[in-house]
């Protein structure tokens, strides 16, 4: 059942679901009193800086650190040979591959770590890295993944064993190849498209960093780090270093943006730990901006060929997709183990798709490793961009309006739960309502009239639609794990005697507002005012084990765990209330914040009274205290969706694309804090605008990264960002305890194809069928010149 709004059931003071409570974390952020990793200073702390290679592929002939070691304040220089002695020169990636911590023989991408200098101050370390002389012998560089797969290409990773002397990392398939081939062969038309989803970077404002603090006396490691997944870090550090997990404490602080880039464990972290183990002092390492852009895990980099089968009346018959994924020199994606290409096979999108077949090959190249999910649930952005571009092309081929084509082919709401041909079970959806609302809100018919008039006058205006389906909340333990750890998440609630509470979570906010949202879930379930619920994350000594925050999974997993833990507490308060009110538990009913005796509205006990009783007056046979923990294993993923419509105007003289209007209708199920959801959508839309028009990490033929500064890697500012127009529909998830679905990434995923479709729509009468993102003025200007428009 889809509605437009949900009425709160709690008072404004309690602040449960549906209240736009101001964020509890913001007072410290807006006063500049957040505590980021750079703010953490420990006694006796020293600094690390990293020597990086200028070559994208080269043999290391020698490393001479003698001059650096003579410089003021320098304590140590660590090289790959030093790590090799301890067996730490390679480390496992979360994707089951391995990557170098520091190289011994060869460097594999420009700006890879080569050596580390530890010094008393940051400046001394930075000066000393320029005095480490590394002698290289350049080797042939592979930048293009297609060339990497050619039979005579140099093998980049000979370490993989005799049966893998090639650059193909893996091949992955989903769906029924034969049935899809047959469906396309029987179609009236097959519409192809080739799209490149370029390599981009999360470019969080806070770069990565850590302080490794090994205390040789206690034999204990405190590891302060900017991590989206602190518990996974603790396990990985223990596995790599051999330090017992009980002697490792991973502690995050405030995190200035993660977006998937703070899920992987980076070589710098391991080197810092080795340095601290060696020196017995805290070692701090903070990346600078160029290191962050050049060496941290990238996102996307998918070359996609897709074909859509159609009948003459515009009914979709099947989808066939062949993709090449460029993973750099190591597969350091953070995808669930069974899904090397993430959830890319959600590419059938919002459409009733009789057949589909998807195959992905991954290749090694001389680029940084990665494949992180930049604000999207494991390759969903790549999938949505492809299908939404392809659907637009298909509509054009059969001569239908792209909105009408979508309406004709959408999965109908009576088809949910819907089983897709690639194996997903969409839990709920109402795509027609969302698109109709977007069309009405933007005034679609009037815009099409305006476009026709402008086209007649030679002006370039386009309207683009994207009707995406997300797949988030990984995930059910029968299918989802990372390095073997099932993708549950957790919550632990303790209610104090005076009625306030602490909630500890296995997830990790990076700016999403967990301290507010998760307190509101407790408020909703127990009636404890959200202002009296303290939310704590990111200390592995106190928080229950969890997989962390990415892939829009916090509300679907830890949000559910919070609700279930609260319900366990509620059950205990029922027994306490029955004891205090001298009645049977069955005679009680819950109204927000209190247990009432049925039929006697004046006989009740509030949650505060019951919390007090749990410590002061609990019945014989009952444990004292009021706390509960839940490790939530979701039965299914959740499937947020939405319809976005974008209007662009193109300047014929400069090729500049201006987004004039952008309407976003989102459906993330039941909403906990509407203001935070709006904020997530505004931020997500801006991060969708960014790759659509501005951002790309490109390389020259020698493997030099050409976007290693914010001068070349263009982040949109308030000047480039249009006034987003947002709206919503609400289709609750049938299996989530709160009916919620997750929203952090919908807009990043949904926005780029809406913008690309609008640009192609503006140029379609010239014969343009695709423009790859980022759609820069240069690309458009070139098209306009080729088509003889200017």
């Amino acid at each position: 059942m889809t509605t437009e709004a949900q009425a709160p059931t709690t008072t404004e003071e309690v602040g449960g679901m549906g209240h736009s409570k101001k964020r509890k974390e913001d007072p410290r952020f807006i006063r500049g009193q957040g505590e980021y990793i750079e703010d953490v200073v420990l006694p006796n702390m020293v600094w690390m800086d990293i020597v990086r290679t200028p070559y994208a592929h080269a043999k290391i002939k020698s490393i001479d650190a003698s001059e650096a070691l003579k410089m003021p304040g320098v304590l140590a220089v660590i090289t790959g040979k030093d790590l090799e002695a301890a067996g730490l020169h390679w480390m496992p990636t979360l994707a089951g591959d391995k990557q170098m911590v520091l190289p011994v023989d060869e460097v594999m991408y420009q700006s890879q770590e080569v050596a580390a200098v530890i010094a008393e101050t940051r400046y001394q370390a930075a000066d000393a890295i320029t005095a480490v002389y590394v002698d290289y012998e350049p080797l042939p560089v592979i930048v293009d993944p297609y060339k990497a797969l050619e039979p005579d290409a140099p093998v980049l990773r000979p370490d993989r064993g005799p049966d893998k002397q090639h650059n193909r990392i893996w091949h992955w398939e989903s769906g029924d190849r034969a049935a899809t081939d047959a469906a396309l062969a029987a179609s009236d038309k097959v519409v192809p498209i080739d799209v490149y989803i370029p390599r981009i970077h999360v470019a969080s404002i806070e770069t990565c960093g850590c302080i490794a603090d090994y205390d040789p006396v206690r034999a204990h490691l405190d590891f302060h780090v900017t991590s989206q997944a602190p518990h996974v870090y603790r396990t990985v550090i223990s596995l790599v270093s051999g330090i017992p997990e009980s002697s490792i404490r991973v502690k995050t602080h405030d995190i200035g943006g993660g977006f998937g880039g703070k899920v992987p464990v980076y070589p710098g972290y391991v080197i810092a730990i080795v340095a601290s183990l060696t020196l017995g002092r805290p070692v701090k390492w903070i990346e600078d901006r160029s290191e962050n852009l050049q060496a941290d895990s990238f996102a996307r980099d998918y070359h996609v060929h897709a074909e859509l089968g159609l009948t003459n009346d515009g009914t979709i018959t099947g989808l066939r997709v062949k993709t090449l994924a460029d993973h750099g020199y190591a597969d350091a994606a953070a995808d669930p183990s069974k899904y090397p290409a993430g959830l890319f096979n959600v590419i059938t999108g919002s459409y009733d798709m009789p057949q589909a077949f998807v195959e992905v090959d991954a290749a090694y190249t001389n680029k940084p490793p990665g494949g992180v999910a930049y604000r999207c649930s494991f390759r969903v952005t790549e999938a949505v961009h492809t299908i939404e571009r392809l659907v637009d092309e298909a509509a054009r081929v059969v001569g239908m309006d792209p909105a009408a084509f979508r309406m004709k082919n959408f999965i109908r709401k009576d088809q949910f739960p819907y089983h897709t041909p690639t194996g997903w079970d969409y839990d709920s959806g109402d795509y027609h309502t969302a698109l109709q609302k977007a069309l009405d809100m933007i005034g679609y018919d009037e815009l099409r009239r305006e476009q026709a008039e402008k086209r007649a006058r030679g002006e370039l205006m386009g309207i683009g639609i994207s009707s995406f389906t997300e797949i988030v909340g990984a995930g059910p333990s029968h299918d989802f794990d990372i390095i073997g750890i099932k993708m549950f998440d957790s919550a632990e609630i303790r209610v104090h005697p005076t009625g306030s509470a602490i909630l500890r979570l296995g997830v990790q906010s990076q700016g999403q507002g967990h301290e507010t949202t998760f307190a509101q879930i407790v408020a909703e379930e127990l009636g404890i005012p959200m202002s009296k619920v303290m939310v704590e994350e990111g200390d592995t000594d106190t928080a229950p084990y969890g997989l962390g925050t990415y892939a829009s999974r916090s509300t679907p997993t830890a949000g559910a765990a919070t609700a279930i833990a609260a319900r366990k507490i509620k059950e205990k308060t029922r027994l306490l209330a029955a004891h205090l009110l001298e009645c049977s538990p069955d005679d009680l009913e819950w109204t927000p914040g209190q247990w009432n005796v049925k039929g006697s509205p004046d006989r009740f006990k509030t949650i505060a009274e019951l919390a007090f009783a749990a410590y002061t007056n609990h019945p014989a046979g009952m444990e004292a205290g009021l706390e509960a923990t839940d490790y939530y294993d979701p039965p299914n993923l959740t499937f947020p969706f939405g319809s976005y419509i974008c209007v662009v105007d193109i300047d014929k003289g400069t090729g500049q694309v201006k987004v004039r209007r952008f309407v976003a209708i989102d459906d993330c199920g039941n909403i906990i804090n509407p203001m935070i959801v709006d904020g997530q959508i505004h931020g997500g839309l801006t991060m969708g605008l960014a790759p659509a028009l501005y951002e790309e990490i490109s390389y020259d033929e020698n493997g030099n990264n050409l976007a290693g500064t914010f001068m070349d890697y263009l982040l949109p500012t308030a000047l480039e960002t249009p006034a987003w127009e947002t709206g919503k529909t609400i289709t609750p998830s049938p299996h989530h305890p709160l009916g919620a679905k997750g929203v952090g990434e919908s807009a990043t995923v949904g926005a780029p194809p809406a913008i690309a479709n609008a640009v192609v729509d503006a140029l379609a009468h010239l014969g343009v069928t695709n423009v790859d993102i980022p759609i820069t003025p240069q690309k458009v200007w070139r098209i306009l010149h080729e088509k003889g428009v200017v």
Binding site: V51, R52, T53, P54, Y55, A56, Q110, S111, I129, T130, A131, Y133, V134, D135, Y136, P138, S290, Q294, D700, N702, G703, N704, N705, L706, G708, T709, M711, D712
Partner: protein, 147 residues
């Protein structure tokens, strides 16, 4: 990056050859060259400061005369490194014309820049390299023609 060009020098071919084969002489014309160390007839080492835009780096460049066919043809290979940047180049020179001059020098160079200088200076690198090569040949011609 590929560069090539032709320079006319009003000097006898033997003298041009001699000048070009003398690391100290030709080195004095290299932009930003701070010192030249001759190791043997075919190997020498230069220290030079190179700047593109706001990025500058002090390179240590090992140079090798890979081929010489007096007084017509020489091939020079260079491998230089600076913190975070590297340059690898092969230069060909061909001298022609009457013995007494003027001498025509056809030259070509294949230059690979790696690291920070290439990343950050990408938009300006070709222009800067062209300018530096131009300055070098202007200097060589001026010195030879002057004396």
């Amino acid at each position: 990056m590929q560069f090539s060009g032709t320079v006319q020098i009003a000097a006898p071919r033997a003298r041009v050859w001699e000048f070009l084969m003398d690391p100290d002489q030709v080195g004095s014309c290299g932009p930003g060259v701070e010192s030249i160390e001759v190791i043997d007839a075919d190997h020498f080492k230069a220290k030079a400061k190179v700047g593109i835009g706001f990025i500058s780096a002090r390179f240590v460049v090992d140079m090798t005369v890979a081929e010489r066919n007096e007084p017509e043809l020489a091939v020079l290979k260079a491998h230089g490194q600076a913190p975070g940047s590297a340059v690898d180049a092969t230069a060909n020179m061909h001298l022609a014309g009457p013995d007494e001059g003027p001498t025509t020098m056809d030259w070509s160079a294949d230059v690979t820049i790696s690291g920070t200088l290439a990343s950050v200076g990408a938009r300006m690198i070709e222009g800067t390299a062209n300018k530096m090569i131009g300055q070098t040949f202007d200097c060589i011609r001026a010195k030879l023609e002057a004396g």
